[in-house]
Symmetry: C2
Subunit: 197 residues, 2 copies
DNA sequence: AGCACAACTTGACACTGACAAGATTGCCCG
DNA sequence: CGGGCAATCTTGTCAGTGTCAAGTTGTGCT
C-alpha cells in the first residue's frame, strides 16, 4: 500500500542512532497500555520516553494504528506459541488465561478491532496461527462427546477462557477469586464444566 | 466530589434551549461508539451533531470520562433490568448475550474501566444492581450440584456469557456461528456445558 | 571514497479536551 | 406579574495530539 514504508519489520535488531527504537517504543507502549489502556497511548509521549523527536515513531509504525496493529500481531504470535504447547483443551484454556495475565496490553489490543488495521498481513497471519493452535487443542475432544457441531466445542472453550481472562483483567472477579491463583480457579472451573465432554 | 455539577441526572426530560441535549448527546455518543469504538468519541463532534457549541456537552457530563461513565451506568441499569426477568441461569446467560447485541456501545464501555470514573455513585450502584441480578440467577443452581464454592458457578456462567458476547461483538465467531441466531447458539452451548449441574 | 537509503529531526497544520468568563433563557417566589 | 437567579449554552483560549512534508544525519555497500 504505502511504498514509503520501511517494511523490514523484524529482521535483525537495528543498531542505528538510537539502538533499537522500534523495540523501545513497543516496550514503552506496552507499559502505558497495561497501566492505563490503549486510549492513554500517545506517540509523542512514547517518543519523549525514548528520547527521540516526536515524529520518530512514525518511521517504524506509520501511525498510531500501525503501532497498535504491530502489538496485536506480536500478541497473536505469542498466544499461538503458548497454545501450541498445550497438552489438552483444558490446558490450552489455562495457558490462554496465563497469556492474558502475562501480556495484558497485548491481550487488550488484540481484541479491540477498531484500533487495528484489520487487513495487515502480519496481523492476519498471527491471528491465523493462533486460530490453528486453538483448533488443534479442540480437536482432542471428540465431536460426538460434545454435541452436533465440533466447532461448538471450540466456541465454548474459547468463550469460557476469553470471558474469564477478560473479566479477570477488568478486576471483575477480584471478589470471587480472592487470593487464590486465578489459573487454578479457572482449572477447577473448566474441569467442572467440561467434566462430561 | 464536584459541587458545580448539576447532578439532576435523569429526572424529567429537560425542555431548555435545545430540548433534551443530555439525551441527544448520549444517543449520538452511543451511535459513534457502536460504529467505531470509544476511542473515536469526540465531545466536539457530538456537540456539532447536536447543533450546539463545542463546550455545551461539558455542562451535562463534566468531561469525556463523565460522559462514558454515564453511559456505563445506564448500561448496568439496563443489564440489571434484563437479568431480573430471567427465569433461570441459562436464560440469564441468553439475556446477557442479547443485551450485548442490542446495546453494543453500552456493553463495550461498561467493561473498559480505564475510561470510567470508578467511584461514580450512579456507576457503582448500577453495577451493584447488575451483580445482584446475576447472584439471584446463580442462586437457582444449587451449590452442591456444581462444586465446593457456589460463587464458582457464578464465575463460570458469567465467564461463558461474557466471553461469548465479547467475541461475538468482535466478530470473532462469525465463522463458527454462521447465519444461525447467536442466542440460539449460546443456548445450546450453555445447555451442553451446564447439562450436569 | 562516495553514493543510496534508512533513521531521525524540524516545522507546520488541523483537531481535540479542558478551562474561564460571559451571554441567554426559563422558572420560582415574592 | 416581574425581578432575580440558577441552569443552560456560547465564545475565546490554551496546551497537547496525530499526521504530513521537507530537511538532516548517519550507515552500510559497492
Amino acid at each position: 500500500m504505502s511504498p514509503t514504508e520501511p517494511k523490514k519489520t523484524d529482521d535483525a535488531p537495528r543498531r542505528y542512532h538510537h539502538g533499537d527504537l522500534r523495540r523501545a517504543i513497543l516496550s514503552a507502549a506496552l507499559d502505558v497500555i497495561a497501566a492505563d489502556g490503549p486510549s492513554a497511548l500517545s506517540l509523542r509521549d512514547l517518543a519523549r520516553r525514548a528520547g527521540v523527536s516526536h515524529a520518530a515513531p512514525a518511521h517504524h509504525f506509520k501511525d498510531r494504528t500501525g503501532l497498535l496493529t504491530a502489538i496485536a500481531a506480536e500478541g497473536f504470535g505469542l498466544l499461538a506459541a503458548a497454545l501450541n504447547e498445550a497438552s489438552d483443551l483444558k490446558d490450552a484454556g489455562v495457558r490462554y488465561v496465563r497469556f492474558a495475565r502475562e501480556h495484558p496490553a497485548h491481550f487488550q489490543v488484540m481484541f479491540t478491532p477498531e484500533l487495528l488495521r484489520g487487513d495487515d498481513l502480519e496481523l492476519t497471519t498471527g491471528r491465523a496461527l493462533a486460530a490453528d493452535a486453538l483448533r488443534e487443542a479442540v480437536s482432542a475432544v471428540r465431536a460426538e462427546d460434545f454435541g452436533v457441531d465440533s466447532r461448538l466445542a471450540g466456541v465454548a472453550a474459547w468463550s469460557l477462557a476469553h470471558g474469564f481472562a477478560t473479566l479477570l483483567l477488568g478486576h471483575n472477579l477480584d471478589g470471587a477469586v480472592g487470593d487464590r491463583d486465578p489459573e487454578e480457579v479457572f482449572r477447577t472451573l473448566a474441569t467442572t464444566l467440561f467434566r462430561s465432554v
